[in-house]
Symmetry: C2
DNA sequence: ATACTGCTAGAGCGATCTATCCAATCGCAG
DNA sequence: CTGCGATTGGATAGATCGCTCTAGCAGTAT
């Protein structure tokens, strides 16, 4: 049985229970959403503050390094959120076993539903900003690299646990990452969920093949 | 025999022979390079003009619609250039036949060499800007969608010509697109050519499978 | 009450951005 | 040559950018 959940980010862990999240969290949430939709340079500080209903002074109180520090923090936070999401699909609960082929299919299906339900606006919260700053800001690039690596690690160990060899597990993880990220790009640009469906079928098939020959 | 060429864009067709390209072409070339590296909003008009050694007035002479028109034109131009590149690998010359598996491998190998040789700066000239503007500018989004579709069409007919069914050919084209674009993202972020190598092996294997069962 | 700390609130600065406008210059046809 | 449209060069407007600064607020400890 696979986890029933959407691909939406879970509520931040540091939010006061029963209350609205703290200012810092609201800023980070708004940043992740806007950066993912319009990119880093395409999103002004003021729009972030407006979206998060935060006062101007608070931003530089929590992020003295300014927009760059906010960008890196936003990337790290999104990286953790998405890693937990991948874990929800690919890491078993107490003593359970995960059907990695089914998990792959479920993950892509959930992704297709989410992107369509947000009118093709919200896909990967890091990809947009990563491409923008990979050759421009080394600290942000490193934050994105660590986020991506953490996702790959989760996938790799899931495949290894399922019986696939270490090297092939890493390759499978990279293949799955490329499939979903490429599909996000194509899906958002064409405004169609088809690429995600197609990429999901191919990814599941690759995983099944690797399992069979292990 | 596969075409021996780099993944670099060919010289513009409208360039005066033996002379340096016209102002409009120089602006478009510089735009494609800078947009691909730093994104659309991250690239200022002045940097484009400086890089293309073009005067300020010329930009608004050739692109009265301003930066948005320039962005759309840049996307269209890059789309044509990359389509011709894909054709060089996947479309046979006079009465020849293309080994689509070999073409796939060669394409990814060439991409890995190019991205590493540009210090992980130049990969897909459209992906960065496409993610940025997909939810912001409809004209530019459509330009990117047309460019991507034209690449998919070339790939699809190559597979169909090689004997793969129409539906499966389209799926294969989308898979290959997702693999290379996702690999570009991961490669630029991690500063490693490995993702492209891994994605290339997987893509070639998918193509081989499809050929076998056709 | 007083003092201290963490956070809020916004005015406003210098820099930078896109875009407009116009005069100077070029290339070529008559 | 003369005339004329196409192109160039840049000054500058108007808006927006990221960011700094200071003043004030709430809550807690003393």
């Amino acid at each position: 049985m696979l986890p029933v959940m959407s691909l939406r980010k879970p509520a931040p862990a540091t939010a006061t229970p029963g209350d609205r999240p703290g200012t810092r969290d609201r800023i980070l949430d708004a940043s992740a959403e806007l950066f993912g939709r319009q990119g880093f340079t395409g999103t002004g500080i003021k729009s972030i503050l407006a979206a998060s209903e935060a006062p101007f002074g608070s931003l530089y109180h929590f992020f003295p390094g300014g927009k760059d520090e906010l960008g890196a923090a936003s990337i790290r936070r999104s990286g953790i959120g998405y890693r937990q999401l991948v874990e929800a699909f690919f890491v078993p609960g107490e003593g359970g076993v995960v059907d990695v082929v089914g998990a792959t299919t479920a993950f892509f299906t959930g992704a297709a539903e989410m992107i369509a339900s947000t009118d093709y606006a919200d896909a990967c919260p890091i990809a947009t900003i990563a491409l923008e700053i990979a050759s421009v800001s080394e600290p942000m690039r490193e934050a994105a690299a660590e986020a991506f690596e953490s996702w790959l690690t989760v996938l790799q160990s899931a495949f290894a646990t399922a019986g696939v060899g270490q090297v092939r597990s890493r390759e499978l993880a990279v293949e799955l990452f490329c499939a979903i990220e490429g599909a996000f790009l194509l899906s958002r640009t064409l405004r169609s969920p088809d690429p995600i469906r197609i990429a999901g079928l191919a990814a599941a098939s690759s995983v099944a093949d690797a399992l069979r020959s292990s």
